[in-house]
Each structure stands twice: as C-alpha cells, then as structure tokens.
Symmetry: C2
Subunit: 221 residues, 2 copies
Amino acid sequence: MARLHHVPLSPFCRKVRLSLAEKKIEVDLVEERYWEADPDFLRRNPAGKVPVVRLDGKMMSESAAICEYLEETRPEPPLMPKDPEARYEVRRLVSWFDDKFHHDVTSKLLYERVNKKITGQGYPDSRNVKDGAKAIKYHLDYMAWLLDQRRWLAGDVMTLADFAAAAHLSCLDYISDVDWNRSAVVKDWYAKIKSRPAFRSILADQVSGFRPPPHYADLDF
Amino acid sequence: MARLHHVPLSPFCRKVRLSLAEKKIEVDLVEERYWEADPDFLRRNPAGKVPVVRLDGKMMSESAAICEYLEETRPEPPLMPKDPEARYEVRRLVSWFDDKFHHDVTSKLLYERVNKKITGQGYPDSRNVKDGAKAIKYHLDYMAWLLDQRRWLAGDVMTLADFAAAAHLSCLDYISDVDWNRSAVVKDWYAKIKSRPAFRSILADQVSGFRPPPHYADLDF
Ligand SMILES: N[C@@H](CCC(=O)N[C@@H](CS)C(=O)NCC(=O)O)C(=O)O
Ligand SMILES: N[C@@H](CCC(=O)N[C@@H](CS)C(=O)NCC(=O)O)C(=O)O
C-alpha cells in the first residue's frame, strides 16, 4: 500500500491524492507537520515539503514528478492524452495552476488565512488577502474562457490539468473563497469533478479550527 | 526557425535555450521586457512570463511543459532516460531547482541584485541577499552529495536536471555569486557542462549595467 505524507489543505498533496485515487491506488494518509522540520521527515525529503509518497519501495517528493511517474507506471485510466501537443497543453496548465495561480491566489488567501495560523505565524496580511480575492476573479474568468471552448480544461478529456485546478479550488472552497456564481461553466466543471469517486476523501477532510461551509462537501452546491 | 521570447538572466529561459541547442534546433532570440506587460506579449502568454517560444506554429509557455514537448517531438539526443524511476529522478531534480533552489537562492540573490534594478524596483534587500548567500552553500553541498554518487545530477547520463541546475548557477555566476571552491565535484560538473556547444550562447550573454566577471565565460575557470 502507498503511504502519503501530506497536509489536508495543500493543493500539491490534493493533486497527488486525486491521481492516486483515480488510478485506484490505495493510500495510507499520514499528516505531516512539515513546519516542525522533524529530522525523520527531512530524511524522507530534504526539501522539507509535502507531498512525500512512499510507493514501489521508494520515497518520492515533488508532485509533478510523482504524477508523471504514476502516469508512466499505471497508465490506466489515463490522465494525459497521447498526442505531444495535447500533453503540452496539460502540462502548461498544471504549471499555470501550480505556479501562477498558486502565487496569485492560493498563497494570498489560503496561506494567509490558514497556514499562518496553523504554523503560528500570526494574522493574515489584509493587503495579500485583498490581492488574492481580486486575482481569483481573473483566474476564474480564464478558466471560463477555456471551458467555453473545451469540455475539460486542457481539451475534451479529463486530465491532470483538471486535478491541479480542482486541487487549488477545493482548498479555497474549504475557506469559502470561491464565488461559484461568477461563471456557470466553471461551476458545472467543478460539479463534474467533485462527483468523481476520487474526490470523496477530499470532501471528507476536516481541519481543526477551520470548519468548511456546508456547500463544501455538497455535490449539488 | 523557432523564436524564443526571453531575458538573458532567467534560469527558466536558459533551461529552454540549453534544451533547444542540445537538440540542434535553431532559435531566434528576442528580448522581452515582460515587466512592461506589453499587450502583444500578454496575448502570447496570458501569464505574462518568459520563456515563451514559437515552435511548430504554436506559441508555448511554461518551461517544464516546453522541455517535455521537445523531448517527445525531438527525442535525439535524449535529455531524459527511458526508465520511469530514472525519469522520476530527473523531474524531481528539475523541480528541486525550479522551485526550491529558485525560492531559496535565485530569487534572493539574482532577483534582488539584478531584476530589481532592471525593472526599477529599487535596491536589494540586504536580509534577502544574506539569506540567499547562506542557502546557496547548502544547495552546493546537496549537489556535491549527489555528484559523489553519480556522474551527472540525476544519474550516469546528462539530463534536463543538469540543465535546470546549470541554468540557475550560470545566472548566479554572472553576478559572481557562486563559490566554485566550495566543492571540487561541483566545479568539475560545471566545467563539463560549460564546455558543451549548447552552452556557448549563454556564455556570450551581456546584460547592460552588469558586467560578468572574467571567469564567467572561461572554460578553464
Ligand atoms: N514543488 C512542490 C511544492 C510543494 C509545496 O510547496 N508544499 C507546501 C505545502 S502546500 C510545503 O510543504 N511547504 C513547505 C515549505 O515550502 O517549506 C510540489 O509540487 O510538490
Ligand atoms: N513556471 C514558469 C516560470 C517562469 C518565470 O517565472 N519567469 C520569470 C523570469 S525569470 C518571469 O517572467 N517573471 C514575471 C512574472 O512572474 O510576472 C516557467 O517555468 O516557465
């Protein structure tokens, strides 16, 4: 059985959880207080970051590398198309969410409101929260623009790009930071992905000190 | 012919330049003042970041996605091994440099000393510079530890992981921020990669207002 060292509200961990679940790989979840820099944890990943997964007898870190490895060793069901141009688009969007969306939105809303409190770094910086709340609108509009032309974010099939996006948005939804009324296509897309069996464990997450809004786990939100 | 929108001292752009050159794809370099957010540039990449490459009639952004695409469409010479575990290690290290090294070192030294000046954001923050100078030692030691066990960073053949690392280090070397005396194996590794034809254009870079030290372009440094 795979073992994942994670925190519940980490978009990188959630992307890996979704990929593992979609490929029906059973996983034992272990919460890791990475900010305490426990020596055992640092031995598993000298970068000191989650996710870290124990799989095929190896300790693996870096979510993009883990997801590509899963795709190469467990190709069914595929989370990446076959054609190089289509694969490029999946990877571009994964990086879009994990680099740009993460920087513009996740770090400004989730990390300010949740991570700072959990790791004892004080109160949210209201300037960052304001910037994040503004940036998420732009990002939802970009998603809406993509979804006006495509069934899923990277094309006509569900891919890792959808999981990367849903990983970020679900963390933000946990703290009520997503306005689902902004775009009907984005809401429909999220409803589709939320109803997959792979999403169940994410909808069941509970972080002490932070209670999710009732719509968080509701498939009919 | 490919066209690359770039800035000379960007590790992400240099990684793509090295991959293109190693695969003998001729490229027309266009300097892009991305911080001026020119509408034409934003049309090419709504993320507003370099590198952006025009290749096979498509405009492509995100260096990791571009390099994977190059590997899939121009497999010779390979910059990635065939075995999934070995490929995982290449990708883990690319992310190590582009995420962790970038955050700990490049953003604290290069962006403070160079990017701030070029983009008119004032003077380096001495706290960041101090942290970056401390962190690069830890990173060079990590590289030395890897290179004590392997000929190249990810294993016994040169890969994209070496290009990612060399892209960051060469930018820092341009501003004299790498202590090559810290580790003989790291210096030998850099000498090997520096002498490749693919590195020539990088060693010829000139950024106005910043003169590289004489050893920067010297193969026998
Ligand atoms: N590039 C890494 C990023 C992972 C990451 O930043 N994880 C956060 C939690 S969401 C973390 O562990 N941060 C601790 C740190 O940066 O020291 C990946 O894709 O796995
Ligand atoms: N994830 C991107 C990162 C590229 C990146 O951050 N480029 C910097 C220059 S070194 C940039 O364009 N920054 C502008 C910005 O962040 O707005 C990639 O791998 O291509």
